[in-house]
Symmetry: C2
Subunit: 341 residues, 2 copies
Amino acid sequence: MEEVKNDQIILKDYANGSPKETDFGKKTGRIALKVPKDSNGVLVKNLYLSCDPYMGTRFINKKSYLPPFTPGQVIVGFGVAKVVDSGNSNFKIGDLIWGMTGWEEYSLITDTKSLFKIHHTDVPLSYYTGLLGMPGMTAYGGFFEVCLPKKGETVYVSAASGAVGQLVGQFAKIHGCFVVGSAGTKEKVELLKNKFGFDEAFNYKAEKDLDAALKRCFPSGIDIYFDNVGGKMLDTVLLNMNLHGRIAVCGMMSQYNLDKPEGIYNSFCLVSKRIRMQGFVAFEYFNLYPKFLELVLPCIKEGKMTYVEDIAEGLESAPAALVGLFSGRNVGKQVVVVARE
Amino acid sequence: MEEVKNDQIILKDYANGSPKETDFGKKTGRIALKVPKDSNGVLVKNLYLSCDPYMGTRFINKKSYLPPFTPGQVIVGFGVAKVVDSGNSNFKIGDLIWGMTGWEEYSLITDTKSLFKIHHTDVPLSYYTGLLGMPGMTAYGGFFEVCLPKKGETVYVSAASGAVGQLVGQFAKIHGCFVVGSAGTKEKVELLKNKFGFDEAFNYKAEKDLDAALKRCFPSGIDIYFDNVGGKMLDTVLLNMNLHGRIAVCGMMSQYNLDKPEGIYNSFCLVSKRIRMQGFVAFEYFNLYPKFLELVLPCIKEGKMTYVEDIAEGLESAPAALVGLFSGRNVGKQVVVVARE
C-alpha cells in the first residue's frame, strides 16, 4: 500500500511549570492514506490545528478532566481536516470536518462520534477551530445556558480577547448587556473596545488594585462573570458581584502552571449574595450546535460578529504557538496552519 | 397607660473574634402592653428565642447579608411569641407567631410582613425556632430546591447535628439518598447515627486526614454537599465531589470568627467536574412554607422525623447560649426559653 511522509509533533518530556518548546519533539513517520480494513474510522489530512488553554491541563502532573498527554505520543487537540479515506458511511472522501485530531499531517481518527461535518464553507475554514468550533460552543453554552443573561445586566469577561472571551463579549452585546473585559496588554484592550464592541476594558497587568478597577468599571456591581482565569481575579470579582449573580467557570488559565493554586478567600460572598457558580465544559452543549450556527452564521455574514485569529504557519510552529498561549503572547484565537487544503 | 418591666439583652461591646458573654449586657426597661395609636404593628410576649449561626455575621466588622447589631440596642433574632396587642387585622390578641423579634420579654414588632402565624400547636412550640421555623426552611429550600437531589445519590452534611444539618440528613433519607454527616464530638456523631438515621458519621476533630475520612465514607464520591462550615472542609470536599455534583452553600460557620478566612485551593474542581455551587438563604423559599408543613407535620406525628433541641432556661442565659453555639457547645438546635406562655 502506498505510504506518504507524516510529520508529527510529539510530547518529548515534561517536568513541571508552564510547558516549554523543548518539551516537544518532531517525528517523521509514514502513513498509508487508507483506512485499515474493518475500521469505521476516517483518515484525514489536517488543515488547521487549535491551541486552547484547556490543553495546559493535559500535561503530566496536572489535574484535568482529560487524560494527560503521553510522552512519545503525538499531541492531540481540536482541528479542521479533510477526509482522505473513510470506513464510515457518515463521512465521505472530500468531506471537511472539525473535531479531535492529531498534531500531524495526516491522522487516522477512530472516534468519529465527536467529529462535526462542515457544511458551510463560505466563511474562513480556520473559524472551525474557534468561532464556529469548540471555543464558540464554550462561549455560547457558558454565556446563554450557564449564565442565563437578562437584557440590561452587567457582564464581566476575563481573558476577554482570547478565543472564547471575544465571543462572550459580542454575545453579551447582542443580548443587550453592558460588558467589560480585561486583558494583559494595551493592544488587546484596544481590540476589546474598538473591534469587539466591549463597553469598557482594562489591562489587568497595569492595575495596581484589581478591586478598584472593577469598582470603577462596575459602579453598580457585576451580575455575570465569565471566568477564564480563576485565582486572584475570581477572588476579587466575588467582592463585586451583585445579589443573585452568576459565575460561569470556564477555565482557570492563571492557575494551570502554578505548583500550588492561589486561594479563594471571599467564598462567603456566595452565601451573602446568593451567587451561583458553575463549572462547565463545551461538549455538554454540543447538541445545541445547529441552533448555535443559526444564530452565528448570519451574524458573521452581516458583519455583526467578528473574530480575531493569531495564525502560526506550519506544523513545526505549533509548539511555540501553544507555549505562547500560556504567557498571553497570542492576540486572539491561536491557530496553526498545517495545510491550506 | 399601664407599663410592665421589660428585661432586655443588648449588645454592649464587640471588638473582634468570636463573640464573648461580656460583649452582651442586660437592661431593664418598661413597656406599655399596647400598640401605639396609628401603628399597624403587634405587641408580643416572647416565649422562645433562637440562637442561629448566621447571627455570628451580624457582629460589627463582619461582612453579612444583614446589618450589624448596634451597640446599646437589643439583640434581634428569630423567636416564637404570643400576641398581646395588635394594630394589624392579620393578627389578633392570643395568636402565636414566629419570626423576627427581640431578645427581651416583650417586643413591639412593626415589620409584620415577616411574621408567620402558628396554626398547629399539637407539636412543641419551640419547634417553630427550628424544625418548623427558619432552620427547617433552610434545610428544605437548600436540599430540595438548591441541591435537586435524586434517589440513590450520595449526600454529605457538615455540622450535621445542628439545627439545619439534622434535618437535611433526615430529608435525604426520606428521599432515598445515602447520607453521611460530620460533627465535632463523639456524642454528636452517635446522635447522627442512632437518632437521625445517617448512614455514616464521623468526628471531624478526631480525623487526622479529612480527605481520607471523606474517601472512606464515600468510596464512589459525593453527589451533593450541604455546606454549613466553609473553609478547609469545603476545600477538601471539592476533591471528593462527583461529576455534576451540587454544593448548597448554607453558611460558613468555621469562618465567621477568623480575622482572615481560610483559602479555597481546589476551585478548579468546579470546571473539571462541572460542579454547581450555590449560596442561598432560607427566606427566599418562605413562599414554600405551606408545602413544607404538608411534608413535615405528618412526618413528626408519625415519628418519621425527630428533632433534638438544646434548651437554655431564661432570657439571661441567652448570651451564653449564643456564644456556646460558635464553639459547638450545643447539642442540637439551640433554643432559649423566655417564658412558657
